[in-house]
Amino acid sequence: MYVQAANQISIQNPLSEEWIDAPLTCSDSYCRAQDPDFKPYVSPIEGRRMGKVLKRALAVSLKTLRDTGIEHPDAIITGTGLGSVESTEAFLLDMCKNGEQLLKPTHFMQSTHNTIGSLVAIQTKTHGYNSTYSHKQISFESALYDAFVQLRAGEIGNALVEGHDGTTPSYFRMLELIGYVGNEGQVACSEASMATLISSTPSDSDLCQLKAVKLMHRPSIDDWKNAIARLDLPSDTVVFTGENGHAANDRLYSDVLTALLPDVPTVRYKQWFGECYSASALGFYAAAHLLKAGKLPGNASAALLLTMDLDGDAALTLLAR
């Protein structure tokens, strides 16, 4: 399987790989994404009715399809931890503050998690398989796993796989209240939109290959050991970790790394992109582009993306040149 293209909107310059040589830094505990000019992807009239996450999803999806020359992907599979949280919150706040009598439909219509993947399908008139996963930190990997299973079985020839999460100021505050973000020394709580086109046939401009995706629930060290053993890792593999400066979160990674991958170089991609439910989509994106650019530590030929969360869900993804 070949990763043909991948595009992002994040706290780095949007729809660009400038961060590889000149990453922007964010010293605040909360950082919104840098939005691009949406005009090439959505008309101003349509855009006015759409929440930010929807506009970003259209931009990264349409750019990825244009990059690859694919008009209608065989499948559109989306991962999102919270869906269009901006719309959900707008409807919820209106209801909580003003009661249940005078509510308006627009925000509700955009609040459903699969509004994002459906919008991409409606705009591109794509009737193929369409699904959306919402499973905390492994929402994106769940979507990727679905695509992987179907591509390997030959049920589809390509898939547009996406990861999207926005973070409103109040949602940031809520995540801060439960100690997930905003801790001393932790990366910024941020936003992420990413789309990638994965195909079973190679092209001239492929970023890398997708070798494996696996999801796990409360894995023991033995489970990790078995999962990693099955990957047949090249000796020059680099590990992309979701370490973010949150002590308990980082301990999850160090436990696995110390026990099973003690001498493997690591890349902490969240130093560039911050933390949100779809952060690992940007880890995937970064690994793919760094493989292509030959800019991994030691010019490594493979990147193992590890994702774990404090509630016990975990994923591993292997990309290789």
Partner: protein
């Protein structure tokens, strides 16, 4: 399909009862569960809904969960259904440890979030607010609460495609087994009523204040419902290896996108047509081999004609018997795909056709759904197509057959 996919356990909770036995009895005696809202604390007391007639506290007692444990209703409904499915399938803790769990939900923990949201975001008021409900707000958290109640699954994930969520859990689960990723995947969905989506549907003006009348010329909208259902899906080989009893077979499935509108279906039902056609093609059966269609049939002015247009494209003028069970349960949104899958399995094993409640006038002269419970169906029921369609034109169709 390359591997035969069998179902070895099923559990269901809906407005017509807790467990398959109560649901079966209500379906066969035509006793609906839709009534004026009484458990959900909403201003819309005029609304008719299909509530599960249990408080959260009562469910926690049934489940043996300490009453001070933070819980969301979606998860409690799911636990009751999962417990029944696991018991029927006879899964040991070792069996569960090598199984995957896929839950379809959209509401997740919104029932609690909507009670405390203003406290959570207030500059001063968050102190004393039950902030643990922030952790249970999202879909994935509801899923893991359900999964962990039954044991230690090897993997869990959540599908959120609105009203087709649970049906799409079958689609992923089936592909995971076919491709050899897992021998066994527990699939289904769970969704409680929330003020959030009750009001959302209300703003879309698709709620009927009267009992809903799916597939009827006078239909004027849907009644929302709540519930959960989970099914144990296995490769036939794995099921026979552990000597499990087979209660049904998943012969085919299809998912397609209508790609027409976020909250409306196309007039020609393109997405639904594609989904049903794929399910039949995958099973390698002809339309005439289908003995009954359990329609999505919400009772909204828009859904039913679109679904019928799609059925006409699949079946021509020789439509098999069809009905919608939404009059019994209300529209259980993300859970509807698996709740109605359980109804289809009950119909197959007990050889009856569920009726459309509240039906009186055909949409077109020849469109007469099943409305009477006969002691013996006109022809044996061997194969059932079960539809679940969601917002965003997310259309899924599942084909079940007898064991």
């Amino acid at each position: 399909m390359s591997k035969r996919l069998v179902i070895t356990g099923a559990g269901v909770v809906s407005a017509i009862g807790v467990g398959k036995e109560q649901n079966l009895r209500a379906l066969q005696t035509m006793q609906g569960g839709v009534a004026l809202v009484s458990y959900l604390a909403t201003e819309h007391t005029e609304c008719r809904v299909g509530e599960v007639k249990l408080t959260n506290g009562e469910m926690m007692q049934m489940l043996g969960i300490a009453e001070d444990t933070p819980m969301v209703r979606t998860s409690l409904l799911g636990m009751l259904a999962l417990r029944e499915a696991v018991a029927e399938a006879g899964l040991s803790s070792e069996d569960i440890a090598e199984s995957a769990f896929i839950n379809g939900t959209t509401v997740g923990g919104m029932d609690m979030s909507e009670q405390f949201y203003l406290d959570f975001i207030s500059e001063t008021g968050a102190e004393g607010a039950p902030v643990h409900y922030i952790k249970t707000h999202d879909c994935g958290s509801s899923t893991d609460l359900i999964a962990d109640y039954a044991g230690h699954f090897a993997m869990t994930t959540s599908i959120s495609t609105a009203c087709s969520s649970a049906a799409n859990a079958f689609v992923l689960g089936a592909r995971m087994i076919e491709s050899g990723e897992f021998d066994r995947v527990v699939v289904g969905g769970s969704e409680c009523l929330s003020k959030f989506h009750l009001n959302g549907f209300n703003t879309l003006m698709i709620l009927d204040q009267e009992p809903c009348r799916p597939l009827d010329a006078t239909r004027a909208g849907l009644n929302l419902g709540e519930g959960a259902a989970f099914l144990v899906l296995e490769s036939e080989e794995a099921a026979s290896r552990r000597g499990a009893r087979v209660i049904g077979v998943l012969e085919g499935f299809g998912n397609a996108c209508d790609a027409f509108h976020q909250t409306a279906s196309s007039a020609d039902g393109e997405g639904a047509f594609l989904a049903m056609s794929q399910a039949l093609a995958r099973a390698g059966v002809r339309p005439s081999d289908v003995d009954y269609v359990n329609c999505h049939g919400t009772g909204t002015p828009n859904n039913d004609p679109s679904e019928i247009a799609a059925m006409r494209r699949v079946f021509g003028n020789a439509l098999p018997p069809f009905s919608s069970t939404k009059g019994f349960t209300g529209h259980t949104t993300s859970a509807s795909g698996s709740i109605e899958a359980v109804f289809c399995l009950l119909a197959l094993s007990h050889q009856f056709l569920p009726v459309s409640l509240n039906w009186s006038q055909p949409i077109e002269p020849d469109l007469i759904p099943v409305t009477q419970q006969t002691s013996v169906p006109a022809r044996p029921i061997r194969r059932i197509l079960c539809n679940a369609f969601g917002f965003g034109g997310n259309d899924t169709s599942l084909l079940f057959s007898k064991s």
